[in-house]
């Protein structure tokens, strides 16, 4: 059976969650490999959530926020950007390639962009194969 990557997405309530809703109302189809966790702002994504997802066997993590300058809370997305940048360097050092962590700005009107992002990410993760941490835990 073909490898089906598992993606956890942490999305902000105002932009990317709404974009996922819009993809739905527009009936834009994308692969069912993603699980959304709604937070109020991308700045509320604790790096520990991303670590936990990877350690628990997620093949990829998507963090979705409002476009720069459009944050509902003024500058939360910039905080998310700083944190994710730092976290990526840490994860790389423990053997998780940074391509498994995607930070994307997807506004409430970009239903198609949300669907395209998921489709692209699933495709890319399929190419990369399962996360090394998946097998590490299966002792």
């Amino acid at each position: 059976m073909e490898f089906e990557p598992k993606i956890i997405a942490f999305v902000c309530n105002w932009c990317t969650y709404a974009a996922a809703d819009l993809a739905g109302t527009s009936r834009i189809q994308y692969p069912p490999n993603i699980r959304l966790i709604r937070l109020m702002c991308s700045s509320a994504v604790d790096p520990i959530y991303i670590m936990k997802s990877i350690l628990n066997g997620a093949d990829g993590v998507l963090i979705g926020g409002c476009h720069p300058g459009d944050c509902h809370y003024q500058n939360g997305n910039y905080k998310a950007r700083r944190r994710v940048t730092i976290l990526k360097s840490i994860l790389t050092s423990i053997g998780v390639p940074e391509e498994r962590i995607w930070l994307r700005w997807i506004s409430a009107s970009e239903g198609k962009k949300f669907a395209d992002t998921v489709t692209d990410m699933v495709g890319r993760l399929r190419e990369m194969g399962p996360s090394p941490f998946k097998s590490m835990w299966e002792i």
């Binding site: 809703d21 069912p32 709604r38 604790d46 509902h72 809370y73 198609k112």
Partner: protein, 1089 residues
């Protein structure tokens, strides 16, 4: 053994049948298919449609009769139930025959997605039968039945026999009977029928208004994505049922039975005390300017259409393509002032917005596709709004957008390439031609015909342009008392001004109706929250079918079965529409019956429905935050429509995640705070006094603080208005109003020394210049109307020669002695604006220059007035005065910022030399007087620090959002009006002032103010007081408690973003509702198989 049921008092017979060993009671004559559907037994179909009579063509719905009839295979869609019938739907014979049928169907159209999906479901991978090249049609007869039964046209029928059988109109010719409704195309499962081959008449698609005619829409549609309410409407002009009694399919297929063709427009009488008219505007019909070829050439579009082309949710989903060939254009031309500033079509006003939206559209186009080369053809660049000049300069200098100052005279199409040739005359007077791939016409704003009839109905006068006529300094006042106006019906305006006016109109209505505030509202009452319900998590899960929206893809019973076994779940059920009234009642009774303490609804999206379900569980005595929602429609069934198995699996997962979070939920109690109902207004100029009066009229006490000894600010220096109103008289009435109003306490010659507290509860110390002691006042809000300063020129010999003066000084002299003896006047624009030190436009100086020029001409028609300008920015209806000035002989000469005019003095005579760009030569003037149109600058550093409020790069205060919150600060409780915001005209300042007042009243009118629910809490025991949370908070809602040295949350200011809890390095801060263990639980269950 038939039984009798009593339904609505009528006795109906029902008969027993058995399907898949399940005993059912069904009405006699019911088809097997419908009986099975009622019992949740899935039978695949293709040619069946509940709106049409059964036909039995595709044979996919075959089932096997075991007993009670002739044994064998029959089509479930039209075989009728009879007593004692025993049916099996999934026997080897059924499966084998269905697969055979599927192969036969696939042979006719192997490309069809519908067939491929069905084949996958029936486990058929490919057809062994040779492809029928003759026809894509699978002869299911849906189109024939649709046309005959629903549309009543009978255009289509089957023709020929055997392998030549086909669907066609009579004699295989296009039919004169066909009405071109497109229903056949709509219902065809294989996309094998095309109305253009059937209909003799030309087919006219219904174009979507929202997509500006670039996309099609059905008759039943949601008008636009943001429509409120977000429900479909039936276009009654085009609905075939309403116009010709045909069709009516929507009524048949809507499971919620929400379609009613009998609805009629109702007349209702409302008793109101004030009316606000905001009918908006219409976009200029670009076809009127036929020389630009709109409607003739494919690749000439309006700016509104281009906006849709750019939009991510537009017809091309954000891809920039041109209409003629769907290719990406490279060279795009924008032509400004189409239908604005245009005497030929009678629109003598400026539409105020087109320069900037052209710039914006050009920039976005370039953002989408960096090799696009936009050119904007314009007359004057009117970037007069706050921050607009910077935006325009950035577009021109950094983003490579080309601006060509000219009047485009016509557009012609190149026949082969469909490219467009623009003929224009540049500033030097040369005629040029240039080729573009796409032309965007920046169409202007016009008053709508409906607005005109509305104005007539309300007895409101219109001005010469057809916009609402205004006579007072308040731009929201009409000529009829008690009737107010806001938005572009007043005159053309941008979003921030529209939002400001909306607030201002609301303030005016509120001033009239203050005594009646709250008299028509009733408060909803709830039962007490059940304190025992918080202990043990007993989760109830309600899974919604949403008709077929979820139920048609996701196996809802399987999801219900699955969640029943999850930890803490004590109850799970499904419903057809969970948001329907009866389903909500059932949730409430299930909470009582099963003693539920947490509720999960798996349905649509929390964005639209969480509040409804929260309210429902609150009515049942549960805390509303013991609720979690799983989105299995928007995030599952609608986006995985062709993968029912995967969708069901995902739905189970998504509900599990919600349950795992729900079982950890704790009640949230929202705190509320007292409000001090007094207001503080800083600055007693035009804006400050207007705000103070409006607040007082609305019933609130006001402290009005003015730094100087006099009330009035800049208004005191304005001697006359461009439209003939008397500012002096207005000032006197304002000052009198303020001084006589009992609710207003004026503190003149007073400074603010200190402001502490926050929204609802401020304490300020005032220092009067002649008094020792500070005055302490308490107030709930602050309106900042501290104004700005006039630029004091250092250039053009100002201060060295008495005959070099500012516009304000000229105005003074004109009103004092009629500008005695002024025969030759040169005015220089943009002094202290749009230069290196001030990269913004001061907005009012062009109108001021025109006003004073007209005054000079009025006093002495022989006088020569020359205005040296860069762009004349007489926006909106002020354009008519610019025209008037030109007609009365005022000379306008443009200069470039690189070649500023040079003012010299020889022998006491002034001389002005400037390079005339039309003549290409330097010209000299020897005026009696040089008038400098000086800009406005903000002097707000001190206040900005005192009140901790942000400033823009240009030194004006920065509002919460430039477009949609122009009067608020991000710090709640503080509002902004007048020149402290940005340069404004008097009318605009009045609108801001009134708007700021009603914004403040939204707080002051409440008895208590509620904090947000999902705010952070701090475990003070472990807080180290490091201050990370303070740095993370954009709202100043975090502070260190000086006594405990730990972090506090100022609940009333917190906006609940959650950033501080992530910033907390010791993990002692948690956001309610999003505590870390809840998110961790969600992650855990998301990754568990």
């Amino acid at each position: 053994m038939s039984s009798e049921n009593e339904q609505n008092g009528i006795k109906t017979q029902s008969i027993p049948i058995t399907i898949n060993r399940k005993k059912l009671q069904v009405p006699p004559g019911e088809t097997i298919l419908n009986a099975a559907k009622g019992a949740e037994i899935d039978i695949p179909t293709l040619c069946h449609n509940s709106a049409l009579s059964p036909y039995g063509a595709c044979r996919i719905c075959l089932v096997e009769i075991i007993e009670g009839g002739k044994p064998g295979l029959v089509a479930a869609c039209h075989y009728k139930a009879r007593e004692g019938l025993v049916i099996e739907t999934d026997t080897p014979a059924v499966r084998k025959t269905r697969r055979m049928m599927m192969e036969l169907l696939l042979a006719r159209n192997p490309e069809s997605q519908t067939l491929k999906d069905l084949a996958k479901q029936l486990e058929v991978s490919e057809s062994r039968i040779r492809r029928n090249e003759h026809d894509d049609c699978i002869l299911c007869g849906l189109c024939v039945r649709m046309c005959r039964e629903r549309m009543g046209q009978n255009v289509l029928s089957f023709a020929f026999r055997g392998d030549k059988r086909t669907v066609s109109p009579a004699f295989d010719r296009t039919s004169p009977v066909c009405i071109g409704c497109g229903a056949c195309e709509f219902i065809c499962p294989t996309n094998a029928i095309f109305p253009k081959d059937i209909c003799q008449k030309p087919l006219v698609p219904i174009l979507s208004d929202f997509e500006a005619g670039l996309g099609k829409r059905p008759v039943v549609n949601i008008l636009y994505p943001q429509a409120v309410p977000n429900v479909p409407t039936i276009d009654k002009e085009r609905c075939l049922h309403l116009t010709s009694d045909a069709c009516g399919i929507c009524e048949t297929v809507c499971q919620a039975e929400a379609i009613s063709f009998n609805q009629k427009a109702e007349m209702r009488e409302l008793d109101v005390g004030a009316v606000i008219l905001c009918p908006g505007f219409e976009v200029f019909d670009a076809a009127i300017r036929s020389e630009y070829g709109f409607g003739i050439y494919d690749n000439v579009v309006t700016s509104r259409q281009f906006e849709r082309i750019l939009s991510a949710s537009g017809p091309s989903q954000g891809e920039i393509i041109r209409p003629s060939d769907g290719k990406q254009p490279k060279k795009i031309a924008f032509i400004s002032c189409v239908g604005s500033r245009d005497q030929t079509c009678g629109n003598l006003y400026c539409s105020s917005v087109c320069c900037m939206y052209s710039t914006k559209e050009a920039l976005i186009a370039k953002e989408h596709q960096s090799d696009i080369e936009p050119t904007i053809f314009y007359m004057d660049m009117r970037a007069f709004g706050k921050g607009f000049e910077r935006y325009f300069e950035g577009a021109r200098d950094r983003h490579g957008i080309r601006y060509e100052r000219c009047l485009a005279s016509r557009v012609m199409e190149r026949q082969r390439t469909k490219n467009l040739l623009i003929r224009y005359r540049n500033e030097a007077g040369r005629f040029l031609e240039e080729e573009f791939d796409l032309v965007v016409l920046a169409v202007g704003i016009t008053p709508s015909p409906q607005a005109k009839s509305m104005a007539k109905m309300f007895g409101v006068e219109l001005n010469a342009h057809g916009f609402c006529r205004k006579v007072s300094f308040s731009p929201t006042e009409t000529t009829a008392p008690g009737i107010f106006v806001s938005g572009a019906f007043g005159d053309p305006k941008d979003i921030p001004e529209t939002v400001i006016e909306a607030s201002a109109a609301a303030a005016q209505a509120s001033e009239l109706l203050a005594s009646k505030r709250g008299t028509l509202t009733t408060e909803k009452t709830y039962p007490d929250e059940n304190p025992f319900m918080v202990e043990e998590p007993r989760v109830g899960v309600f899974v919604c079918r949403c008709g077929r929206n979820i139920g048609g893809v996701v196996d809802v019973p399987a999801v219900v079965e699955y969640v029943r076994d999850l930890p803490h779940v004590v109850f799970a059920d499904e419903s057809l529409y969970t948001c329907s009234q009866d389903a909500l009642e059932k949730i409430k009774s299930d909470i009582q019956t099963h003693n539920l303490t947490r509720v999960v609804v798996a349905s649509c999206t929390p964005t639209t429905h969480a509040s409804l379900f929260r309210d429902t569980i609150r009515e049942a005595g549960l805390n509303p935050y013991l609720f979690e929602m799983a989105s299995i429609r928007e995030h599952v069934s609608w986006v995985h429509m062709n993968q029912p198995q995967e969708a069901t699996k995902k739905a189970k997962h998504v509900v599990t995640m919600a349950v795992s979070k729900a079982s950890l939920l704790q009640p949230i109690r929202i705190n509320s705070f007292d409000i001090n109902k007094d207001g503080l207004v800083l600055g007693a100029g035009l804006a400050g006094m207007t705000s103070a009066l409006s607040l007082a009229e609305q019933g609130f006490n006001v402290h009005l603080v003015e730094k100087t000894e006099n009330l009035g600010g800049h208004l005191a220096h304005i001697r006359f208005a461009i439209d003939g109103k008397d500012p002096g008289e207005y000032l006197n009435s304002l000052v009198k109003g303020v001084e006589e109003n009992e609710r207003i306490t004026v503190y003149s010659g007073t400074d603010v020394k200190e402001v502490s507290g926050y929204l609802g509860n401020y304490k300020s110390l005032l220092k009067k210049s002649d008094e020792e002691n500070d005055i302490e006042i308490r107030h709930g809000i602050i309106i900042l109307a501290t104004g700005a300063k006039e630029y004091q020129p250092r250039e053009y010999l100002y201060g060295q020669n008495n005959m070099v003066m500012t516009q304000t000084e000229l105005e003074e002299s004109l009103s004092r002695d009629g500008g005695a003896g002024l025969r030759d006047v040169v005015m220089i624009q943009c002094v202290g604006s749009r230069d290196e030190e001030h990269s913004y436009c001061s907005r009012i100086c062009c109108s001021q220059a025109v006003k004073n020029a007209l005054k000079i001409k009025e006093l002495n028609p022989e006088a020569n007035v020359t205005v040296l300008y860069r762009d004349i920015r007489t926006y909106g209806t002020k354009e008519e005065y610019y025209l008037k000035a030109r007609k009365s002989g005022v000379l306008f000469v443009r200069y470039e910022p690189e070649n500023k005019p040079v003012v010299t003095e020889t022998g006491g005579r002034l001389q002005v030399e400037v390079r005339d760009l039309v003549l290409g030569k330097n010209v000299r003037f020897a005026p009696d007087c040089v008038v400098l149109s000086t800009g406005i600058y903000g002097d707000n550093e001190h206040l900005s620090q005192l009140l901790k409020l942000p400033l823009t790069e240009d030194g004006f205060f920065m509002e919460a959002h430039a477009k949609i919150r122009p009067l608020d600060f991000t710090a709640e409780g503080v509002f902004l009006a007048g020149l402290a915001h940005s340069p404004r005209t008097m009318e605009e300042a009045v609108a801001q002032a009134k708007g700021a007042a009603i914004r403040a009243v939204t707080i002051l009118s409440k008895d208590r103010i509620l904090a947000k629910a999902e705010i952070p809490v701090v475990n003070a025991k472990w807080c180290s007081g490091c201050g990370n949370c303070i740095a993370a908070c954009p709202y100043d809602a975090r502070k260190i408690n000086p006594e405990t040295e730990t972090a506090d949350v100022i609940e009333v200011l917190c906006q609940a973003c959650g950033a501080c809890s992530v910033a907390c390095h010791s993990g002692v801060s948690e956001q309610k509702g999003f505590e870390k263990r809840k998110i961790m639980a969600q992650i855990d269950s998301a990754l568990t198989e």
